[in-house]
């Protein structure tokens, strides 16, 4: 499996996927199925390793009996292949969503609310003043029920403009990294034809 073969393999799959830009075609469809299939196979590998290393191995070698719980819960998911016992899968879903909900709830106050509020309090010059007005505008834009009056609506209008600027900046700054990734893929094609080193 030489490096040369690797370069050709990478070049060919790149061209096949890029052919989508011309229009849906047989080559793209084939590459798409190869990609999705390989990724699924890789996912099975990763899932297997997670179950083995975090669940099965500690269970049988170290006797961590508690690990039977997630293994059983994981198996519960397969009740989805039946019609009668579908509800069993909810136990596994409950644990997962419980983790996500808890992690979300606990992280929001400090990371997303207090630290941002603190940053909004710094006022040293006119720019800071404008920034604070902008932040207030955006927050007031998101009022849905309470305080629907002309003041909050006026602020909300400013808030929307500020958000448009934020989106414009987001779009503009990310083009740099997108072009960088694009050149990476273009390089794979050019390299196959020996046009770049």
């Amino acid at each position: 499996m030489s490096a040369r073969f690797g370069i050709y393999l990478a070049g060919i799959v790149t061209i096949a996927l890029y052919s989508y830009l011309i229009g849906d075609n047989k080559m793209f469809k084939f590459a798409e199925h190869l990609y999705v299939g390989s990724a699924a196979g890789h996912a099975i590998t990763m899932g297997y390793i997670n179950i083995r290393d975090l669940g099965w191995t500690p269970l049988v070698t170290k006797g961590q009996v508690m690990l039977l719980i997630p293994i059983l819960l994981g198996l519960c998911l397969y009740s989805r292949f039946t019609t009668k016992y579908v509800w069993v899968s909810r136990y596994a879903i409950a644990v997962t969503i419980g983790i996500g909900t808890g992690v979300g709830l606990r992280g929001m106050p400090s990371a997303q609310i207090l630290s941002q509020l603190q940053a909004s309090m710094v006022i040293k010059n006119a720019n800071d003043f404008l920034a604070i007005l902008g932040t207030l505008g955006v927050i007031l834009y998101f009022l849905f029920i309470h305080a629907q009056n002309s003041v909050t609506k006026g602020f909300g209008r400013i808030g929307r403009w500020v958000m448009m600027i934020t989106f414009g900046v987001g779009f503009g700054t990310s083009t740099f990294s997108m072009v960088a990734r694009g050149t990476g893929a273009v390089t794979a094609i050019l390299r196959m034809f020996g046009m770049v080193k």
Binding site: G6, L9, A10, V13, T14, L17, K26, L34, Y35, A39, A40, G41, H42, A43, I44, T45, M46, Y48, I49, L54, G74, L77, R90, Y91, A92, I93, A94, V95, T96, I97, G98, T101, G102, V103, L105, R106, Q112, I113, N127, A131, G134, T135, V138, I139, F142, W161, M163, M164, I165, T166, G168, V169, F171, G172, T173, T175, G182, T183, G184, A185
Partner: protein
Amino acid sequence: MRREVPSIILAFVGLLMIAETFLNIPAVASLSRDVKNWGIIIGGFALALGSANLARFHIVRIARKNKEWYNSVALLACMAAFALAGVTIGPKAASYAFYYNNFLAPMNTTLQGMTVFFVGSAAYRAFTVRNAEAAILLLTAVIVILSSIPLGEQLWSRIPAISKWIQDVPNLSGQRGIIITSAVGSMAIGLRVLLGLERSHFGGE
């Protein structure tokens, strides 16, 4: 039994996660670490479940002799090959790594690289000044793009300074507002889910 017990489990796990962050109790910390591990293990089963569904979907296509069924065969073959190799020789083996690095990874790079083409077509299609807001969006994007390439400076020497001001003042304040309000929304849905008032994830009311 079918909805209540899962709801109780959900609330317990959620509160455990919250307790881990705020309370200085070693037992809580270790249990919550275990439960997060459980999440990864369950996730492993979910990955296999997803792949099994994908396989079923394509087996049906082959059985029905759908148009271009041979693509489904290719998909299943790749899936079987990667999974078998992964389970037997492991992903760190040289041949597995070779196909990962020269086959799967470049496809990922290619798709990520394709984004720039779509940005181009979006620029041509969607960036029209239909109203004042669209005009602000367009103008900001153009200034920021111009400031990141040498040409912008040549066009007008103040472009980099203007772009920096836009990024530091209105952009930052907009980000703050969005982050704060999204956090409030996210907390609200989290609370409703914990209390079992929101059950769409268990399928409805």
